[in-house]
Symmetry: C2
Subunit: 239 residues, 2 copies
DNA sequence: GCGCCTGTGCTAGCATGCCAGACGCTAGAG
DNA sequence: CTCTAGCGTCTGGCATGCTAGCACAGGCGC
């Protein structure tokens, strides 16, 4: 089926940089499935039909298998040999542990940031905080969430912490599934914005302990929100 | 043809648990290569010859490709499409970041442990500390290292933190490569044992802040050791 | 009527063959 | 002598066919 219309090999230019940019089919399938899991289109515990995916995406089983293996590695899917692949379920205990890890890491990073954050990053965070305020005042929950995620990423990226960034992204991808179940109440927005501002001010003041404490307080609030979601939607959780 | 004397179908017991125990060829290859990388048999920057591995392990390219993909996912190897697969190099900056993440996580866990560690775990740690003392007095660097790793794992496992355990194992696998380059000087052993004991005592005392501080102090010392290794063996590092 | 056994339809795991891209060497042109 | 174009060879990416193991259901013996 899949009619491979191979284009002309025209340009013989050696673009080594393209190697990084190049996106394999396996990558595309990976992104596709991950998106579906995070958005909830594939429900926790649901089976993943490889052949249907092959047909839908017009690729062979190889890229699909590779993608699912990668997702299994980051614990978003569970592979049962000779049986099937399933979207991982969410345990309430896991949510607590993920948030504990986030708290430990981000508090440490906030303390580190207090010892010096690039000026460029500072400007970006200031802009982000202004947008947060606007979104909070408008009651734009979805918009605020995007800014919220960006705020946390800006600090990590500003400190050029590649590995911490990857770990936190992995945690967030799990937590994102929980958040999808129920958005925070609009009333939470102004306080979240205030907490973010407190973190940023502490970082600017150069007091690492204060910055860490502010980050801890903020993430403890977030954890409480997740707990509420779990309590109010027990059908989506195990344990 | 080949009369497969299928054993007695007797045992009809469905051992679902076996599914988890089952080890695929890809798993075996993965373990094999990872071991080679961590032990230094495959040097940083070195090329990985897939076909040689296929021949050596008597499998086709499929399990090897899957294994290398997994290793690339945890950043132990780098795949350059249409070019080759190489053992990841070690950057001095990465070592600092890995240790920062360890410090943040393990300090948090120590604080958590101070709020209550299972009695069984306490006994195991006490035993471990006695062995540490013996190894330190005997100047058994290699033996002490095994106990050192076990000490840190015991605390995490005692708190039943699966995800933190995985993250820390991943970090340790990277750091293990650095440590292989140069073992700690024997003179470090008694102080390391003393630091471990201080951590454990703080945990038992129930003071979370003390436990976290003790863990931080210990890991800062360890970081200093890594820094020395990097300075004394610049040829093994980039950046 | 009940339970074990076997057949059937699924799955993931694996082997293999082919393709396209990236290097490196060499030969030929300037 | 130098530079470049081209070809050979190596690599990873992908498609596809086959194997083995699990689950479930229906048939056979009891």
């Amino acid at each position: 089926m899949a009619v491979q219309t191979s284009e002309k090999p025209s340009a013989r230019k050696r673009l080594v940089a393209d190697r990084a940019r190049r996106t394999s089919k396996a990558d595309q399938v990976y992104t596709e499935i991950k998106e579906a899991i995070l958005s909830g289109a594939l429900a926790p515990g649901g089976a993943i039909d490889k052949l249907a995916l092959c047909a839908k995406l017009g690729v062979s089983r190889f890229p699909v298998t590779a993608a699912i293996n990668r997702l299994a590695f980051e614990r978003l899917v569970v592979i049962e040999p000779q049986h099937g692949s399933f979207v991982a379920k969410i345990a309430a205990n896991d949510v607590r542990e993920w948030m504990m890890i986030r708290r430990a890491l981000e508090a440490e990073i906030a303390a580190e940031a207090a010892r010096g954050l690039p000026a460029e990053t500072q400007r970006e965070i200031e802009r982000n905080l202004r947008y947060q305020q606007a979104a909070a005042e408008a009651g734009d929950v979805a918009g605020f969430y995007v800014l919220d995620v960006e705020f946390h990423k800006l600090i990590v990226d500003g400190m050029a912490l590649r590995h911490a960034r990857e770990i936190l992204d992995g945690l967030r991808s799990h937590l994102e599934r929980v958040r999808r179940i129920a958005l925070s109440p609009p009333g939470r927005l102004p306080s979240a914005h205030a907490e973010h501002k407190r973190i940023f001010d502490a970082i600017l003041s150069g007091n690492g302990a204060d910055a860490a404490a502010a980050m801890r307080a903020h993430l403890d609030e977030t954890t409480a929100t997740f707990e509420r979601i779990a309590v109010q939607n027990p059908e989506n959780f195990i344990g």
